[in-house]
């Protein structure tokens, strides 16, 4: 009798190249995504060792992390950033790698363009020198972030030696209420299990609330897996997945498509397959969340308060005190009373067309508070064009939001989009670490709807009570 397997176990097994005795298994990598920040030293390593890129066709590059979001053609004034971008351009040329460059109509955040070009497909192994590679797991792929040494390893061998991770199932029962999004689900999960709750594990998200998510929602959810410490996050492919991939530029065609779909349908975890850990979440109980601290696990319902410090155990108390001190918040303050200075709608977590539609629906007919500077940064040129075709940019601009070019932007502030010291930002990104969006900047993570509503109100407000116009 065949053993019952999880989605992860099936993909893992399909990609085992060798299992040398006493060593980590060697895994084949189907798709390697490359960007400017974590690759230059890897290419140098190849050159030093006289190695080539083994599979240029399976390697795809774009520039996203440090490019400005000013209109394209504006010169890059940061010379070190310009040098790094130039290094990627010359490395791609030298090693024969496809590059979606600054001026490409397909440029965008690496985790946005992979799926929208159909590069990301169910059953694949996908890596990138970026921790949010977990995003691609939304398609039922095994996708994880790696460091630069491993980038070099994959460039040279198209393989990685990997210790076998453990498996975790997060079963989300019920359905999410109106105004409660995939982002809130992700924040709710991290708030419950902690930022190291899934360390060493690959998460499979399952249950009716996950099934009901669009591909954009699943990408948001899988994207944040790393914030719970997970090696990867995944959702089994289904009809939603197949419909999304169909017709995309790099998706299989004709007979290959039929073969691929048959294979994808065999990937979901077998009934009765076992996981090392199972977590159950009641999706119906979740609400819109806002982070109050300096990691994504420090989260409260929008109707809640900044936590009290007294009564906490020594370790938690110190961490909470440090976080509140950095964030400039008093214990017990109502989340809805926290005023903001900036709003950022964007990042590989929440910059896809559905995210922008949701934010625009909130913004329509309103105006950004006079105290707030708000920007919308589409995830890719494709998202930007689609949004403009639908007139979303007009809604944002009429409401006083800046409409910018695609890139990682203020998620990590490697480009000129940064917070000033002390500025407080409602952000749809993924990390509220100290200084993440600019030294001294204070980041609160929220969904796109909650960010848009905060921009207009000037403070956090419960989207479930919003007056849509």
């Amino acid at each position: 009798m065949s053993q019952k397997k999880t989605l992860f176990e099936k993909i893992w097994k399909n990609h085992l190249v060798a299992q040398p005795a006493g060593r980590s298994p060697i895994l084949y990598i189907d798709l390697h995504l490359v960007h400017e920040v974590t690759s230059p030293q890897a290419f140098d390593g190849l050159r030093d060792a006289g190695r080539k890129v083994r599979q240029p066709a399976r390697t795809v590059a774009t520039v996203d992390h440090n490019i400005p979001t000013e209109p394209r053609g504006t010169p890059i004034t940061d010379l070190i950033a310009a040098k790094q971008i130039a290094a990627l351009q010359s490395n791609c040329k030298e090693f024969g790698i496809r590059l979606f460059d600054m001026d490409s109509p397909d440029q965008g955040i690496v985790h946005v363009i992979g799926p929208e070009l159909g590069l990301t497909q169910p059953g694949m192994t996908i890596v990138c020198g970026d921790s949010h590679t977990s995003t691609h797991g939304a398609f039922g792929a095994l996708a994880f972030g790696i460091g630069t040494s491993e980038v070099e390893h994959v460039l040279a061998t198209q393989c990685l030696a990997q210790q076998t991770p453990k498996t975790m199932k997060i079963d989300v029962r019920g359905r999410l209420a109106d105004g409660v999004t995939a982002k809130d689900l992700a924040l709710g999960i991290i708030g419950q299990i902690g930022t190291d709750g899934a360390t060493g594990h690959v998460i499979e998200y399952a249950g009716p609330a996950v099934r009901a998510l669009s591909m954009e929602g699943r990408m948001t959810l899988c994207n944040m897996s790393i914030e719970a410490g997970a090696r990867a996050g995944m959702v089994a492919p289904d009809e939603t997945t197949i419909a999304y991939v169909k017709g995309k530029r790099f998706a299989p065609k004709d007979l290959e498509w039929d073969k691929a779909v048959a294979n994808w349908r065999s990937l979901p975890s077998d009934d009765g397959a076992t996981f090392d850990k199972v977590v159950e979440i009641d999706g119906a109980q979740l609400c819109p969340f806002v982070t109050w601290g300096t990691n994504p696990g420090m989260v409260a319902p929008v109707t809640g308060r900044v936590p009290e410090v007294k009564g906490l155990q020594e370790g938690d108390r110190r961490a909470t005190e440090l976080a509140l001190q950095y964030m400039g918040l008093e214990p017990g303050k109502k989340i809805e009373d926290i005023g903001i200075d900036r709003v950022f709608i964007g990042s590989c977590t929440n910059s896809r067309i559905e995210d922008l539609r949701a934010a625009a629906r909130v913004a329509k007919g309103h105006h950004v508070s006079s105290k707030v500077r708000a920007m919308v940064v589409p995830g890719s040129q494709t998202v930007k064009r689609a949004a403009e075709q639908e007139g979303l940019h007009r809604i944002f601009q009429d409401a006083g939001f800046e409409w910018r070019e695609s890139g990682c932007s203020m998620c990590l502030g490697m480009n000129p989009d940064i917070l000033q010291p002390g500025e407080r930002c409602a952000s749809t990104s993924n990390r509220n670490f100290e200084g993440r969006q600019g030294r001294g900047g204070r980041t609160h993570l929220v969904s796109p709807m909650m960010a848009a509503a905060a921009a207009i109100a000037g403070h956090f407000t419960d989207i479930r009570n919003w007056k849509f116009q």
Binding site: Q41, A57, A156, Q163, G229
Partner: protein
Amino acid sequence: MKPFTVHRGRVAPLDRVNVDTDQIIPKQFLKRIERTGFGQFVFYDWRFGADGKKNPDFVLHEPRYQGASILVAGKNFGCGSSREHAVWALADFGFRAVISSSFADIFANNSTKNGFLAVRLHEGEVAQLMRRAQESDDYRLTIDLEQCEVRDEQGFRAKFSVDEFIRHCLLNGLDDIGLTLQHEAEIAAYETLHPAPATLKAS
């Protein structure tokens, strides 16, 4: 890669949990295309004020921790971004190892590629080392990868575990690309069965 066998050195305590890689090496320093020279930027926002002046209160600036080569830190060290620059910065600053009760996966992985040791001990043991480093001058530890043991001269002794293959690579300073390429025949066989998709080949 520089081998790691036995290292004895001064210990600095960083009594914080969830130290993320954004703290270890802030983003403005990731634009460099070299692999070296990141040490000057390690823990930059904690070590230096917004005006660029040294923050004398930060633990690594205390005279008794100068020259420390072993860092003891709270749980979930190295969480967040995959930036290997974090390990490069710690190593370039002079650290050979970090001791914590848990590490983020990618950070731990990156460490092994740089002859840098992420040593996992029990929470109680880490707390004990933290206290000793805080309470004494010139507190030193020996990290022995051959015996998988951390010890001091006052009788502290704790075992740690490392994946056997990773330990082998670290002890011998092996480049694991070379090791994977020993499986060229298997990789080639896999690629014959699984060629790159036609859609990717056409440009």
